[in-house]
């Protein structure tokens, strides 16, 4: 039997797998991407959109690490909107509705451009594990075997996936695609703790059968923006989406048929996301709400493949087909709509992510990395961001180098990884801006500055981005320097209309910007500033206006990093630490924190226990020295 060897093998061609494969190959590792269906690489299995609040931050971060999601979304965008525009720069999120075909094409093109990357269509059936318990490769359905010491698993909903439509149960990862059953078994054999989660998708409707005329439209932003620093002048065509609502008739149909819903009949044990409930849940749990909004989102441009499909965002369900028909027809504009593909719920296995290091490597299977839904998350962006880190680390692992991670002070990706590996999940994990305690510092606008330098250090940034990034940094620095050097007397500023006290204290232009002066005033006192690129102007404005908050967070992040650097030795003996109660000892032994920061987050661990450990470590250090 011929065995082909790679530095890194990625299993799965979804959003996590694609970023993982691309990152690994950018890192210079010989990478193999194994997928059950080549044509489905980069498929948007659920809603045809990328980004949003929190998720948009992740896309910006993926892009800052030279990932592919942002670039692909920019090429495939057919409806752009910045959400939360009025609420401040840190919580704004670009949301893009993408043409499905254009998106997967863009992803596939970007993957083809990757050096060192081989894509093979084959279904992985089992792992090859050495006698010593370390991974050696994978065996596929074709009978072929591929060997590698670093394997990234991104199986999405395919791990023992089961699709439910009413009382019908079909083993599948996506509709019409076989699940991965052997791997689920292997993971259990490797001693991993698996859980079950659930998600769902709405029926898809035929565009021509919808009565659009009476529905209100959302055209998106008049000046659509890009996710990626690299995107510019992409020819794009935008289409509006429409908004409709459920009716009392809809609610009645759901209530009457609730027993036939897979979710309510006891067929599904997995926990679904509370923030993205099926229509059954919305109606049963919030009976007082008279109607629910539905966005009718085109899946592609009208003349493109899939262009006749509409995604009705808001009526995900697992009801029998005939009930789905009745529901759809009870909604204004959809009275005669034809269902092309029925909605369904999918249940799948996930691994308790507390079994992962913050590098996303499995703690007790060296060389095995995981990203996406298998870690209990939901969403393309969450999967992509984790995939990217997995790709970097698998490549580093194959080279025998130290693995890396991101912390909560650096990025949303860092927040997500920390949340997952510390607390685990009880429902599919989605990114929210409120999860980030340093939210004001982790803005979409500064993602490049936050992460690209790190990426350069790790080796995952391509030449083109490096150049563009360095140019950006240079112009930002120059602008900042100039702004600092230009000083104004308060009397002059007041005369020009800036609101401040006439204290005789000179202020530089950055300090003037902090007062949030109108564009007219800015143009009047610093005409050079309005000549700068909009991005540079915007960043300087935010930085000066938020200075107080940002420097406070900077200090806190420094403290966080100090605590992260306080390492607990592997052989720490909690029984010998004076002043730890039995309960605390048990928690510590179970969680085995690797540093002070991790210990601090163990639930129920008292401050005195922490101090006791520090006392012990302090003594321990003294003995060593």
């Amino acid at each position: 039997m011929k065995i082909t060897s790679y530095d890194v093998i990625v299993i799965g061609g979804g959003h996590g797998g694609c970023e993982a494969a691309a990152a690994s190959s950018r890192m210079g590792a010989r990478t193999l991407l194994l997928t059950g269906n080549k044509n489905m690489i980069g498929a948007m299995s659920c809603n045809p959109s990328i980004g949003g609040i929190g998720k948009g931050h992740l896309v910006r971060e993926i892009d800052a690490l030279d990932g592919i999601m942002g670039r692909a979304a920019d090429r495939a965008a057919i409806h752009n909107k910045i959400l939360n525009r009025s609420k401040g720069p840190a919580v704004q999120g670009l949301r893009v509705q993408a043409d499905r075909g254009l998106y997967s094409n863009a992803i596939q093109e970007l993957l083809i451009q990757c050096k060192n990357l081989t894509i093979i269509e084959d279904m992985v059936e089992r792992f090859i594990v050495s006698g010593a318990g370390s991974l050696e490769g994978v065996c596929c359905a074709s009978g072929k075997t591929y060997s590698s010491a670093a394997i990234i698993l991104t199986t999405g909903t395919f791990l023992d996936g089961t699709i439910h439509i009413g009382h019908e149960v079909t083993p599948a990862g996506r509709i019409g695609e076989k699940p991965s059953i052997g791997l689920a078994h292997d993971l259990k054999e490797l001693g991993m703790k698996l859980g079950r989660l659930k998600t769902g998708t709405p029926p898809r409707l035929r565009r021509q059968t919808i009565n659009w005329s009476d529905l209100s439209k959302d055209k998106g932003d008049p000046q659509p923006e890009y996710f990626s620093l690299l995107s510019q002048d992409i020819p794009r065509q935008f289409v509006p989406c429409a908004i409709t609502r459920t009716t009392s008739k809809t609610h009645k149909i759901v209530a009457e048929n609730i027993q036939s819903s897979a979710m309510y009949s006891g067929h599904i044990s997995g926990q679904g996301p509370r923030y993205c409930p099926a229509i059954e849940d919305k109606i049963m749990r919030f009976p007082d709400k008279e109607n629910h909004q539905i966005f009718l989102e085109p899946e592609a441009l009208p003349n493109h493949p899939g262009g006749d499909l509409i995604y009705p965002n808001g009526i995900s369900n697992s009801l029998p087909r005939h009930v789905q028909e009745d529901i759809v027809h009870s909604i204004p504009g959809l009275e005669h709509a034809q269902i092309v593909q029925y909605g369904y719920a999918v249940e799948y296995d996930f691994l308790d992510p507390r079994q992962l290091y913050s590098s996303l490597m499995v703690k007790h299977v060296k060389g095995l990395f995981m990203a996406g839904q298998i870690n209990g998350t939901t969403g393309y962006e969450e999967a992509g961001a984790q995939g990217l880190l997995c790709g970097i680390n698998a490549a580093l692992y194959s080279k025998g180098e130290e693995l890396v991670t991101l912390d909560r002070g650096s990025s949303y990706l860092g927040v997500m990884i920390d949340d997952l590996t510390t607390h685990g999940v009880s429902e599919p994990y989605r990114m929210f801006t409120s999860r980030a305690e340093y939210r004001l510092s982790l803005r979409p606008d500064n993602a490049d500055q936050r992460l690209t330098p790190l990426g350069m250090k790790w080796g995952c940034i391509g030449e083109r981005r490096k150049k563009i990034f360095q140019t950006l940094v240079k112009s930002l620095d120059q602008a900042e320097k100039k702004a600092k050097s230009e000083e104004f007397l308060p009397s002059l500023l007041r005369e020009k209309g800036v609101k401040l006290s006439n204290d005789g204290k000179k202020r530089n232009f950055l300090e003037v910007l902090a007062q949030n002066p109108s564009p007219e005033i800015i143009e009047n006192i610093a005409p050079w500033f309005v000549q700068l690129s909009p991005r540079v102007q915007r960043q300087l404005k935010i930085q000066s206006r938020y200075k107080g908050y940002l420097s406070k967070q900077e200090r806190e992040i420094a403290q966080l990093r100090k605590e992260n650097a306080l390492l607990f030795p592997d052989d720490i003996d909690y029984d010998s630490i004076g002043g730890l109660s039995t309960e605390m000892k048990e928690r510590l032994k179970k969680e085995r924190p690797r540093n002070f920061q991790e210990a601090r987050k163990i639930q129920g661990l008292t401050p005195s226990a922490l101090i006791a450990i520090m006392v012990y470590l302090g003594k321990h250090k003294k003995h060593v020295a």
């Binding site: 949003g52 609040i53 401040g88 929210f432 801006t433 409120s434 008292t606 401050p607 005195s608």
Partner: protein, 442 residues
């Protein structure tokens, strides 16, 4: 964290009770060498947690010098106050005995405890949480019943409960505000935002009321200070004597500086009350007296209230702010019943006339000073006050006209400030300042 890494290896000792006015002095020892130290003092270890009467020796082995007959209590760790092996000796309260027992302890390997070191160990060993630890500090410092009540209240978590209540309200407010950001594309009920503003304002008000209570709490802790003013020879000393004679057992005259004040500390209505006799308030060219007048004015400025004493032949033209007017020597001439709208108490300290009314008036005034109008526990630590004030400040910003993400940030900062009070935040500064305030020996 380095400065909280205080070693617990030393065996420490301290006097756990005050020496003054007490029949016994409680001596406390904690640390790994407690058992051997106790054996060196009195031979064998007694049954744990049972009082036993022993002779305390300078050195039991050599039987040189019996220091005292005392009750001893042996507390093997971890079931002790500090969590370590500890013991207590209840000595006869004599400075000489205490001193010689201290010397014996040093000779057998102990060292005097740093301020707060016992409680710090208790905290480090998980025997106390932060708020409890502070409550214990107050309990130790308390010399009077009102102080003890307040300290107990805190130890039993009344304050923790209050803070937790605010915290959970704030948590909800924050959660709703976050929802308005993270789920802005959803249809949230419009009243959410309006209700938030109302709830924030309500919380601010509640917290402000509590902060306003702070003065009461502080008065209980340090007691009430009363300045006695009046020209010479109006009876200030007589007044002080009368005050101190009321309950001779609990007064302790502390010598003032050369010329100015004599202080008498006593207990009125369960509250530690210090009367400060100021030097005669009259215009003078005498340099030393000038200094005295300066100091008198200092006391007047910093006291809780003033007792202004005068006589029929020296009716004051001006009266002090916040003063009880006391017309002495009422037997010698007429005393007006009201001066500038203020009631005057007429007495003759020498002939014991009107003293009952004076006593009642003093008691009422002091009770009013230390009783709060609200049912909340007293705010009694500068740290608590600072945290609540900071929390209020951020709450205030959170309803200003700012971008939503900043208003939310202010709510988070407000929450963090409050969070510091429950001891969940690991800040070395915090710990140091708390433990620095502790009286040694519990």
């Amino acid at each position: 964290m380095d400065n909280v890494l205080i070693s617990q290896e030393d065996t420490i000792f301290a006097l756990a009770s005050g020496l003054e006015r007490a029949a016994i002095a409680i001596f406390r020892v904690s640390g790994p060498k407690s058992a051997s130290l106790l054996k060196s003092l009195c031979g064998t270890l007694p049954k744990p947690r049972y009082a036993s009467l022993r002779t305390i020796w300078n050195n039991y082995e050599t039987k040189d010098d019996a220091l005292d007959e005392a009750l001893i209590l042996w507390f093997p760790g971890p079931r002790s106050y500090t969590g370590q092996d500890s013991f207590e000796i209840h000595l006869h309260a004599s400075a000489a005995i205490v001193e010689s027992v201290s010397e014996a302890c040093v000779a057998h390997g102990g060292r005097p405890a740093e301020p707060g070191e016992f409680t710090r160990r208790a905290f480090l060993n998980g025997r106390l949480d932060l708020i409890e630890a502070e409550g214990v500090a107050d309990l130790i410092a308390s010399q009077t019943q009102a102080q003890r009540r307040q300290a107990l209240q805190q130890t039993h978590g009344a304050l923790s409960k209050l803070y937790e209540g605010w915290r959970s309200e704030l948590k909800e407010i924050l959660a709703f505000s976050e929802a308005l950001i993270d789920f802005s594309d959803e249809e949230l009920p419009q009243e959410v935002e309006k209700n938030l503003r109302r709830r924030i304002l309500h919380l601010i008000k509640e917290m402000q009321t509590h902060v306003g209570d702070g003065d009461y709490g502080r008065r209980i802790r340090r007691g009430v200070v009363v300045a006695i003013v009046g020209p010479p020879n109006v009876g200030k000393s007589t007044f002080l004597n009368w005050v101190s004679e009321r309950d001779a057992a609990i007064t302790s005259p502390i010598a003032g500086t050369t010329r100015d004040a004599l202080e008498i500390t006593t207990t009125i209505s369960g509250v530690k009350t210090t009367f400060v006799d100021t030097a005669g308030l009259r215009e003078t060219a005498d340099i030393i007296e000038l200094e005295g007048v300066k100091r008198a004015m200092f006391h007047v400025k910093h006291c809780d209230f003033v007792i202004q004493i005068f006589t029929p032949n020296a009716i004051p033209k001006e009266i002090f702010d916040n003063a009880i007017l006391l017309g002495n020597k009422a037997d010698l001439g007429p005393i007006p019943s009201i001066i500038e709208g203020q009631n005057v108490i007429s007495v003759s300290l020498k002939n014991h006339i009107g003293l009952r009314e004076l006593k009642d008036k003093l008691a009422k005034k002091i009770e009013k000073l230390v009783s709060s109008h609200s049912a909340m526990p007293y705010m009694n630590r500068a740290r608590h006050r600072a945290a609540v004030v900071e929390s209020i400040e951020h709450l205030g910003h959170s309803i200003e006209d700012l971008p939503e993400e900043i208003r939310c940030e202010e709510l988070r900062l407000s929450m963090n400030a409050l969070g510091r009070l429950t001891g969940r935040v690991n800040s070395e500064e915090l710990l140091d300042s708390i433990f620095g305030e502790f009286c040694i020996g519990k």
